[in-house]
């Protein structure tokens, strides 16, 4: 006779039937688990994206300031108008510059964290990298307007180091310069790089963590000098991490509309253009067309990265 403690729990027969069915039919369980997130993804995310895409073909009457549902390619054509193309190129070049700077700064930090940092140091670096992300992005940007202003700490520092005139010379350079740091492209570039840097460090660090040390030793053993080991072994293996990080820095810069408003010279960015078009002007179709630009650029970027072998390391 079976003792009570050994007996199977007597569940509600209906519940038990349900549980057993799920156990037998694995696909049903998978279906039940995936349906809610897929619905969310399909309807809310992709749905709104398609609605946006659709609206980019609507017609905007600049005289009556009204949107009609007649479909047109005019919005896309106008992206290539000199002023609009200017906005796109301005944003794109900033995104590229910020991405490159982030990669160059992030790599040594991530490398140190992975290869040399003790357990405690690693923890310190993680917090140091993540901590700025806990503070509001707007607050940080406003803080930078103070740092970069003429009464700010950077000017103070440069003046005390006797480099005040050097800074002024730099600010007189075309393109990157401006009246003050806070109104120059250089200042804007610094703030962008600062804000998105964690998004580059963490993926690179994760990628470095996955490279076994003995591959680097094997390379040295076979006669490769450190620079050769970096170029032939370490960088190709970490490249997917750099690409992952650069997707963040690149796309976040392309879409940002706060920093260009608060720091740097006048002149619209894709983000601020969308903001203006759908807000004060009410030209939703052109705003939508502008939104498609970063999507296309990221797409091109990813296919270039793929061709460069970013995704076939492992």
């Amino acid at each position: 006779m079976q003792s009570a403690s050994n007996a199977l729990p007597t569940a509600n027969p209906l519940l038990r039937w349900f549980g057993n069915t799920l156990f037998r039919k694995n696909n049903l369980l998978l279906f039940l688990l995936l349906t809610p997130p897929l619905l969310w993804f399909g309807v809310v995310y992709l749905g709104s994206l398609f609605a946006l895409l659709w609206q980019s073909f609507y017609t905007f009457d600049s005289f009556s300031m009204a949107v009609s549902h007649d479909l047109t390619l005019e919005n896309y054509r106008s992206l290539f108008d000199a002023t609009n193309l200017d906005i796109i190129l301005r944003t794109l070049s900033m995104a590229i510059a910020v991405t490159l700077a982030c990669a160059v700064i992030a790599f040594p930090i991530a490398y140190y964290m992975t290869r040399y940092g003790s357990h405690a140091e690693k923890g310190f670096f993680y917090i140091a990298v993540m901590l700025p992300m806990w503070a509001s992005y707007i607050v940080k940007t406003y803080a930078w307007t103070v740092i970069l202003s003429q009464q700010g700490i950077l000017y103070w520092l440069f003046n005390h180091l006797g480099l005040g005139s050097t800074l002024n010379h730099v600010l007189q350079l075309p393109i990157i310069g401006g009246n003050t740091l806070a109104t120059s492209n250089l200042g804007r570039f610094i703030v962008f790089t600062y804000i998105w840097l964690p998004f580059m460090i963490l993926p690179i660090q994760a990628a470095l963590e996955r490279v076994p040390t003995n591959l680097l030793q094997a390379s040295a053993d076979l006669g490769a000098r450190p620079a050769q080991t970096f170029r032939n072994i370490l960088f190709p293996l970490v490249f997917p991490g750099v690409v992952a990080g650069s997707i963040f820095t690149f796309s976040l810069t392309l879409g940002d509309y706060i920093i260009p408003q608060l720091i740097g010279p006048s002149g619209l960015y894709i983000g601020t253009m969308v903001y203006t078009m759908q807000g004060s002007v009410g030209n939703m179709p052109l705003a939508a067309a502008f939104t498609v630009v970063p999507i296309v650029l990221i797409f091109i970027y990813l296919s270039l990265a793929r061709r460069a072998g970013a995704f076939d390391a492992f």
Binding site: N214, Q217, A220, L222
Partner: protein, 335 residues
């Protein structure tokens, strides 16, 4: 005799841990030299000191008479076969093998030609275009070997290269490595924790224990003339008799070793040493049986041939028997 690798009083400390403690060895050119020991005994650290992945805390390491301590791995004429192969996952087999030649600036046609020859040498001529991930463990092992050998090193370092392979493959690779060594005539320094591997392949074996060398000798001497109880116990199996029982048998308390196959059941032999004991256990091994005999509180192992002793003739558990061995088979150990 040309000395390939020479350690003079080499130590490697990690904080207060002595990974390698005052090791002096000298490996001749063309020798198959094994470093044997349990894990953590310092043998792998010694290999890494030769490769240049570690630097000694004290002492000097000479490779072909040139001081190597302080020089980086890429300036040494040695190549390593890693325990887990360390093949570059993003390169195909051909580029893996040609890597050492590429970084030394040898032109592609020449380096690929030599890489192909190296791959043929390890019977993988067809596999150049595959990625390491598409190969079996044994094949990766051969690629790692080809990648090291293509550089024509004067010393080849092998760090437990067969550890991850199954028994059959391991035995086959042992044969191949030995053949390769005879053919190339270069120095092999082979790290292993498998005493069978070390004994069957090597010209000489260094037995490591806790960062120190216990004994360096030819495999035969290591087995027949162990110097310390550690060596006697680690190389093959042995009965190590010390203390009271040693006093009883030899009249002094110096420890000694006696191999199980040298212990017999006493019948009427002369010139033997005798002890009385009781059979504690019998383990059947096919051709032989291992008999455990309790003697004065210590278990002694002996081996009986099953063709010589039929089942009826063999002692039973609990039976009192007298063991004996000839004095010449005993090996006195250092205290």
């Amino acid at each position: 005799m040309v000395v390939a690798v020479e350690f003079s009083a080499v130590s490697r400390h990690y904080g207060s841990v002595m990974a390698v403690d005052d090791v002096t060895i000298s490996v001749a050119e063309g020798e198959f030299f094994s470093m044997l020991g349990p894990s953590g005994s310092g043998k792998t650290t010694c290999l890494r000191l030769i490769a240049g992945f570690e630097q000694p805390s004290y002492g000097s390491i000479k490779i072909f008479g040139k001081e190597a301590a302080g020089t980086p791995p890429y300036e040494r004429e040695v190549n390593t076969v890693f325990q887990d192969y360390a093949l570059f996952p993003h390169m195909n087999v051909m580029n893996n093998v040609a890597y050492g030649l590429h970084v030394k600036g040898i032109a592609k046609p020449e380096s690929y030609k030599r890489a192909e020859q190296a791959l043929e040498q390890v019977a993988l001529g067809e596999y150049g275009q595959r990625k390491p991930g598409e190969l079996s463990g044994g094949q990766r092992q051969r690629v790692a070997l080809a990648r090291a050998l293509v550089n024509e090193p004067r010393v080849l370092l092998l760090d437990e290269p067969l550890g991850a392979l199954d028994l059959k493959l391991r035995e086959q690779m042992q044969m191949e490595l030995k053949t390769l060594h005879n053919k190339l005539g270069i120095t092999f320094i082979y790290v292993t924790h498998d005493q069978g591997e070390a004994l069957s392949m090597s010209d000489r074996v260094a037995v490591f224990n806790r960062g120190r060398i216990e004994q360096v000798d030819h495999p035969r001497n290591l087995y027949s003339q162990p110097k310390t109880s550690f060596v006697a116990d680690f190389v093959g199996t042995s009965n190590i008799i010390s203390g009271y029982l040693a006093q009883q048998i030899t009249g002094n308390n110096q420890p000694f070793s006696i191999r199980p196959e040298h212990i017999n059941i006493y019948t009427n032999q002369t010139k033997v040493l005798k002890v009385n004991g009781e059979v504690a256990d019998i383990l059947y091994h096919g051709a032989t049986s291992k008999i455990e005999v309790a003697v004065a509180g210590q278990l002694l192992s002996m081996v009986l041939s099953n063709t010589e002793f039929t089942e009826e003739q063999q002692p039973q558990i609990g039976q009192k028997i007298t063991l004996c061995w000839s004095q010449s088979r005993m090996v006195m150990l250092e205290n």
